[in-house]
Symmetry: C2
Subunit: 309 residues, 2 copies
């Protein structure tokens, strides 16, 4: 009866990218290494973007080479899958210089967000994806798709489920193996999640859908529950809740991996993650980013007794 | 189709009781007044306990007299129901000096917690309740029951649902009109909530059950969702998440009223609460308690668009 859940750890990319502190290459490598040793098996480690726009992600190629070295030396288990964000064909050419076997593309459900976040219209972004995916396929690289602002856009407000369903279908047709559907600004409640997932279920297999929730308004785990009940088995999260919310200073952004793992384990799900190890990373990360991490479990700690009867 | 949800605001009692800062009587009165003006209709405002043990709650009688004055002056709406915690017959005699029409008794599901928290065994606490309830009935005062540590005890670990079901039944038989079932240390996940509520449903009407969740490990709203789905319509919460967790410094305790209201409204439920007014109270409360409140919605703010499609 136990459900196997795949957690995609996005802290080293989505998380660090939204932190004011810029970690050194050595610290980024150490972060990934610690995450792998805590049992995370899917880690998005960097992005092939311009260092001018996203200095936090600079030298991702060098980072990834170092990580593959750690795999060779068996410091990082061979079962760990790395991925990196690739926004355009230029980034893809850089990604091809590494040993990566998986990359991700990132789009949005709202025109305003697409323009402000990735500097092009939704149509233009899909043209870029087509070329990135073509290059990836040529090189036998798997591609994951992100669809952000699926429930709401900070500029336009609510997003119709129809828009998200249509873009998910397009991404899958283009060849991504999974679409991570994101509540980028943390506005969804379980009602919206159920609405979207029921509409999605009519069109695509939910096995190809991951959910990416933000805990900005405390609803992330409730949204995970709604998704679990409807059959979703893949969730994105960020260690410690790394990342913050760029639209509200000091507020939470990404769902914290510890909080996700705590609830999943309490519900009898299997994740492969060692929660105590994850929580133990907290002081190290906080010393590097210079602020307290918002994870609830991180702050409260793993209970000394078991409550998952 | 919209569900009407009753929120029992416990910030002025359960919240303040667990804060290091001790608010003045004037500030406590102002807090209740602000909560009432934000649309909260059930507010637990104080406790008739020894000021030696709980200095934060001292002079609750004077506070309550002042609040009834504010009702007379129509500063506080006549529809607002006040309540106060009464631990024993001595406290009940003090409560009877006020105009209160409702009080609450507080018990636990674990012997160790009962002894450490209210200084008597579970059996002894029920003997006290019997006398308190007898005095209340004589004076036509409604009694609400709290059952804490229903999912877990910090000293003994997991609590069997059988224990909680049995104690809920006993409280209802003794004449409380509703039992608030508490995850006092914030360890439950939706699995445990569903398990307990399904067992409870076999024995009592869930219309007599309220749920009291703590967000210590981020699961409070997921637990609210699980409860809502099973028919629960009354939830306790604390403005701003006032209260903290006495077992983990700096960690969250009570579910924040803002977070609860945000999710409920997003799901189309009616609470009567004005979320913007609630969030606007935040700076005032923080200035009084001298720390940042943990509410996620409080930190992020009410979104400028509507996302509750």
């Amino acid at each position: 009866m136990a459900k196997d859940i795949r957690i995609v750890e996005v802290g080293p990319r989505d998380g660090l990218q939204n932190e004011a502190a810029h970690l050194s290459l050595e610290d980024r490598r150490q972060l990934v290494s610690l995450l792998a040793s805590a049992g995370l098996r899917y880690i998005e480690v960097g992005a092939f973007v311009s260092p001018k726009w996203v200095p936090q992600m600079q030298n991702s190629g060098t980072l990834i080479s170092g990580l593959f070295e750690l795999k060779k030396e068996k410091v990082i288990s061979s079962g760990v899958q790395f991925s990196a964000l690739v926004p355009n064909p230029t980034g893809m050419k850089d990604a091809l210089q590494t040993s990566l076997t998986e990359i991700a593309v990132f789009g949005a459900c709202s025109e305003s967000f697409s323009k402000k976040n990735i500097n092009c219209s939704i149509e233009e972004s899909f043209e870029r994806f087509a070329e990135v995916i073509r290059l990836a396929k040529q090189n036998r690289i798997k591609v994951r798709g992100y669809l952000s602002t699926a429930f709401g856009c900070p500029y336009e407000g609510a997003v119709s489920p129809k828009v998200a369903v249509n873009l998910v279908q397009r991404l899958l047709k283009m060849g991504v193996y999974e679409v991570s559907v994101g509540d980028t600004i943390g506005v969804a409640t379980p009602k919206q999640v159920r609405l979207l997932l029921r509409k999605l279920k009519d069109k695509v297999s939910l096995r190809k859908i991951a959910m990416h929730f933000h805990d900005t308004r405390g609803t992330a785990l409730a949204n995970v529950l709604a998704s679990l009940d409807l059959g979703i088995r893949v969730f994105d999260s960020s260690v410690g809740g790394l990342g913050g919310c760029p639209y509200a200073k000091g507020a939470s952004g990404n769902l914290a991996t510890e909080d996700l793992v705590y609830m999943l384990h309490g519900m009898g799900c299997r994740t492969g993650v060692d929660l105590a190890k994850l929580v133990a990373m907290r002081p190290w990360i906080e010393s590097r980013i210079g602020r307290q991490l918002p994870s609830r479990v991180g702050q409260a700690g793993v209970p000394s007794h078991r409550y998952d009867q």
